[in-house]
């Protein structure tokens, strides 16, 4: 963790990153322009350790999705729910779609990220709402 250098994303920063999605979200960008999500010490594309935070686009588009009917025990979100991978250009993010029915979601739909707390686990839950 690089508390001494505010320009370098913290290695333990998943929760911090998830919380940021509700406001101005960010992704990690390396010196060669590759995007990835934290926590990260090294760019997985090129090995660069010169990483900085870049502003996440406000909206992304659904790249793929599935309506899940069988959930893990104790997950905290009752099925059916829609899981989607949303494309934000430099990075893609996986989360649960809110405010739209499973049969109304389509590839290409615009979405904006948000964060909730999963009451069963206490973990951040990444969600998407129609943009």
């Amino acid at each position: 963790m690089s508390e001494s250098d505010p320009d370098v994303p913290a290695n333990t920063g998943y929760d911090e990153w998830a919380d940021a999605l509700a406001d101005d979200g960010y992704y990690v960008e390396c010196a060669n322009g590759h995007g990835s999500l934290p926590p990260r010490r090294v760019c997985p594309e090129c090995g660069s350790t010169d990483l900085s935070e870049a502003t996440l686009p406000e909206t992304g588009t659904v790249a793929t999705f599935s309506e899940i009917h069988v959930a893990p025990s104790g997950f905290g979100v009752e099925p059916p729910y829609v899981t989607a991978v949303v494309d934000f250009g430099p990075v893609r993010i996986t989360g649960i779609v809110r405010d739209v029915a499973g049969d109304e979601v389509a590839i290409g739909d615009p979405m904006r990220p948000d964060v909730e707390t999963n009451g069963a686990t206490g973990n951040r839950l990444i969600v998407f709402r129609p943009a």
Partner: protein, 388 residues
Amino acid sequence: MTGVRVAGVGLTRFGAHDGRTGRDLFAEAALAALDDAGVDGDDVEHLNYGNFMGALAERQGHQAPVMTEAAGLRCAGTRYEEACASAGVAVREAVRAIRSGENDVMLAGGMERMTNLSTAEVTESLAVAADELFEVRAGVTFPGAYALMARAYFDEYGGGREDLAHVAVKNHANAVPNEYAQYQREISVEQALDSPEVASPLHLFDACPITDGASALVLVSEEFAAEHDLDASVAITGTGQGGDRAALQDRADMARTPAATDAAEEAYADAGVTSDDVEVAEVHDCFTIAEVMALEALGFFEPGEGIGAARRGDTTRDGDLPVNLSGGLKAKGHPVGATGGSQIAELTRLLRGDHPNSDAVADATVGLAHNAGGTVASAVVHVLEVAE
């Protein structure tokens, strides 16, 4: 470098084994493999053992010494874990150990117990193979992950649920005569289409079942086989492994599995063959869409062509390239940590001529086994050839 022969294979029946322990299942497969090989357990120098979720399912970690003891071996063992490719990588490392000259006789295989858990518990345990931070917390189950890939495939290449149903129908038909298969019964396209939705667009009959079972192989050096006059006609001539980003969202293309392509290219080069030489294949069809993507990654079909392979009859038992004559994971069952060893056991039986479906590939001399971990974040491919 010495060649590697499959001297013997052993399997339990795949299915629900109520009241039996994992160690009992593995002992059954191991003893069957030693008996098939005509090799004494005292000659085994190391156990390479695959298991994925034993710490969750049976509260048993550190399984290698437990299984070594259960199989009656007096050697050390190592557990390999690479999700559903655990046994595949266990076999691969055994091949490498024999080729290096380090060992002459290895037992390799795996075991999984799954039916003692509820469906929700199994779903939770299997999800551990996905990326915990970026997928599991976001509600991605294993069927859900393959559903994301299926929808991405349909969007990119076309095809649909009916094409996938033909994969399930084919593999169920192949399983009918296989005494080790969980489901020795045929299904229809209509049954597959009408089964309950699990994770759209995938339905229940697109998915492999929850299974208990074990697999074991006795692998020996060519020299050991010759010195002991073993009947070991099938050789493992190629091995390869590929890796990819753990989370689907980080892949360049969610409808492709480049880890399998990398593993196959390494295995083909190792064996000195090409995809055109392969006459029979066992591929990792944990979901019907997984078989489609495997066929393309392994070089058998161009991208977008694999989806129609079963429907056209290309991969049925009478087709040019019969795929999953064992019944595949879909109908034979998928005890995850045992599957990679089971595929090679089935392929060995097919090539030796003592599999109930051997007549479909009576003249075949080259076979391929493809074992995938997670959403193919890891893949292991082996080429098997009839050596004599």
